[in-house]
């Protein structure tokens, strides 16, 4: 099953207006990813957010590049999910 890893919308859920910038991407297409593994970093004014994978799978496509502006719900990776 294919799925998209996004920046969680439940991050500060009722203050969803924040934006950040992708500063690191730790995975490439065809690499395996495990649930809870850091996959990207997003810099916001207050901190650097280390985004985790919400499931086990294989990266099929990287949807962002360093420098891209992102916010809650932005897609980061297309993933083939195991199970």
């Amino acid at each position: 099953m294919e799925s998209i890893i996004t920046i969680p919308v439940d991050l500060w859920p009722r203050r969803g207006g924040w934006r950040g910038k992708v500063i690191s991407i730790f995975k490439k297409p065809n690499e395996r990813v495990e649930k809870g593994e850091p996959i990207a970093e997003v810099e916001i004014e207050k901190a650097v957010l280390v985004i985790e994978s919400p499931f086990d799978g294989v990266i099929r496509e990287v949807l962002v590049s360093p420098g891209d502006s992102v916010g809650p719900g932005s897609g980061l990776f297309k993933v083939e999910v195991f199970g």
């Binding site: 920046i7 009722r14 809870g36 207050k46 280390v50």
Partner: protein, 294 residues
């Protein structure tokens, strides 16, 4: 300037808090202030409720909470907060608010009603409130003190010299010290607490002066934390303190006489509040039958 790294980890307990606070329409300061500890606290099933809406009448220049004209008071809110405490199974709850300068008592009666309702529905729960200054209105303050929360926190936020730069014009360094002093005058058995944000341009000596001032009005628990700019609209960070500098200030604070000190870059007033309270009362010799851990 190196930024703090936050691991975005959303577990089932975090998701259950999202559902609960949204469903009950209770604001949290965790969201309102973009608190960096939200992943840890919500992941452990703990949130800090923010009563009287999500819009503050003041314009403090470090704070991300929405500013503007607040909504009318919701008279069912005390019950909903009490219900949330029950559903979450908390034995220690922290409640704060936006400032409500639009209300004649600054929101003191809503605080009192919320504390009373939480205790009525959850008789064994300890209640910590982080209150505004009520513009120095001692009658309003007494309304809160009289319902006997276990801890009352009120923050001076910064050192004397920077108060007018950092806080809203209606706030005041001396006014905040007076609030903290009168909590103890009205009821000496209530534990008091205050926070100082570091990194706004203060000197080391000014921090020590502020700590002495807080202790001179009987404050029991001190929180020292690093200011992190929430957005470009707030004040820039003047300095990122090192962990060793927090440790030095913590040691000085204990020498000054605080019962408990929380000194950490990511500490916030409600962070690890339960632990701070139980440690403080133990050191004050007040622990009695109090439960010191889960």
């Amino acid at each position: 300037m190196d930024k703090v790294r936050l691991r975005v980890s959303i577990n089932d307990r975090y998701a259950s808090i999202v559902k609960l606070v949204s469903g009950l329409k209770i604001a949290t300061v965790c969201e309102g202030a973009l608190c960096p500890n939200i992943f840890e606290c919500w992941g452990e099933g703990v949130a800090t409720f923010m009563i009287m809406g999500d819009t503050c009448t003041r314009g403090c220049r470090f704070c991300y909470v929405k500013k503007g004209k607040p909504q009318p008071l919701d008279l069912e809110e005390p019950y909903r907060v009490a219900e949330a405490v029950r559903i979450l199974g908390l034995d220690y709850v922290t409640i704060t608010s936006v400032d409500r300068d639009d209300l004649p008592d600054g929101g003191a009666s809503q605080f009192a009603e919320t504390i009373s309702m939480v205790k009525r529905l959850n008789p064994n729960v300890k209640v910590e409130v982080l209150i505004p200054d009520f513009r120095g209105d001692l009658n309003a303050l007494k309304t809160v003190v009289d319902v006997k929360p276990d801890v009352i926190a009120h923050n001076i936020e910064t050192v004397r010299r920077l108060t007018t730069t950092v806080r809203d014009w209606r706030a005041g360094y001396e006014q905040s010290l007076m609030v903290l002093k009168y909590i103890k005058v009205f009821n000496p058995s209530i534990i008091t607490k205050s926070s100082i944000l570091l990194g706004l341009g203060e000197t080391f000596d000014e921090v020590i002066e502020a700590m002495r001032d807080l202790r001179s009005v009987g404050v029991d628990i001190l929180v020292l934390s690093q200011y992190l700019r929430p957005s470009p609209k707030q004040l820039p960070v003047a300095k990122m303190y090192k962990i060793e500098e927090f440790k030095i200030l913590e040691d000085i604070a204990y020498k000054i006489g605080f019962s408990y000190v929380v000194a950490h870059p990511l500490a916030r007033t409600s962070y690890k509040a339960r632990e701070a309270y139980y440690e403080a009362i133990k050191r004050l010799g007040l622990s009695g039958n109090a439960k010191s851990s889960n």
